[in-house]
């Protein structure tokens, strides 16, 4: 995917440690149709991936240091339980956050992708949060905050999509494809949140 993906701590995409998703490829097909996600969108996402590839560090820094750090109820999920900073946890999860941008754009949406959607969601729930990085942080990220924060991701990705001088129409297509993928992903992430025993409490 990219040359360094295998060096990313805790990044297990496509490996045997990732369990099968309970959402099926038929579910994914249904959600693509519900979101209006077509083959053209897949192509525009690949273009977006090329546009974003050398910007992912800056983008994630924008999201984390520029936005999340200023929102205490979001920032705490990357900090220790006592509120102190945990630079190692943050750095590791930032690397995966960067790779997630690339995976969103450049990976085929196949069984591996679907499995990793579930893995990502679980790592935000009490089932798996903190485990990957042996962190002592909040037990889960509320689903509702992730769903709401997508509005920020969708809005703030725009200048990075524009950054390589693509024409306005292509940028709009890339952005629309990105937004469709976000809705498919938040739909997929809902499933693990709904299936865990403490579903209502991790909303």
């Amino acid at each position: 995917m990219n040359a360094n993906a295998s060096d990313i701590p805790g990044y297990t995409y496509g490996t045997s440690t990732v369990a099968a998703s309970s959402a099926t490829l038929d579910d994914l097909q249904r959600l693509k149709i519900s979101a209006g996600f077509t083959e053209e969108d897949a192509r525009y996402l690949r273009t977006a991936g090329v546009v974003l590839e050398d910007q992912v560090e800056r983008i994630v820094n924008h999201w984390r240091a520029g936005i999340i750090a200023g929102i205490p109820h979001l920032a705490r999920h990357s900090r220790n339980l006592d509120g102190s900073a945990n630079p190692d946890y943050l750095a590791r999860s930032n690397r995966r956050f960067q790779q997630w941008i690339l995976d969103t754009c450049l990976r085929p949406y196949d069984q591996d992708w679907l499995n990793y959607q579930r893995e990502i969601a679980l790592r935000h729930t009490s089932v798996k949060k903190n485990q990957t990085d042996h962190a002592d942080s909040t037990p889960f990220v509320p689903y509702s905050d992730i769903a709401a924060f997508l509005a920020v991701l969708n809005d703030t990705i725009k200048p990075y999509l524009e950054a390589k001088g693509d024409n306005e129409s292509d940028v709009a297509h890339m952005h629309n494809a990105w937004c469709k993928s976000m809705q498919i992903q938040i739909a997929l992430w809902a499933k693990p949140y709904m299936e865990i025993e403490s579903a209502g409490t991790e909303w």
Copy 2:
């Protein structure tokens, strides 16, 4: 809200028949912050409401007849269980769908709004679907399809926001405010879905 809102069948916004939301005003405030929703967004939504007010019938017709009707796994939720059309159910829910656009733009996001968010979500789950209109349709709309379909709502609302000749910057602000509200609403709708006993099965 609008002169005819009280004539809309099954529309119970602000009435004593709507139970209190289990999401609190503090939750709503948290989600607004997570989505980056500000007072400026609330103002742009009100402008959007004025722009959209005389277009809601056309917009909902676009969504229902133009898009949903062509997607069998979505269309069936407004049809009888045997697959036959139920024009009365469709017409009634379309009137409420139209009003929901106006409520999104023009209502204050207060306790009544929050309560009605829960009511809307429940009417898509097995707890309340079909009851309002005594319909014999599917028992629930999967949460995941609603989350995915937001991408379509967000994309297709654009020309209607542009229709009154507002300048490009104002239209972009209106659209961004709309998208933020959609993410807050899909976050709120997740709560009833997570709280019902059959949570996992109505994903």
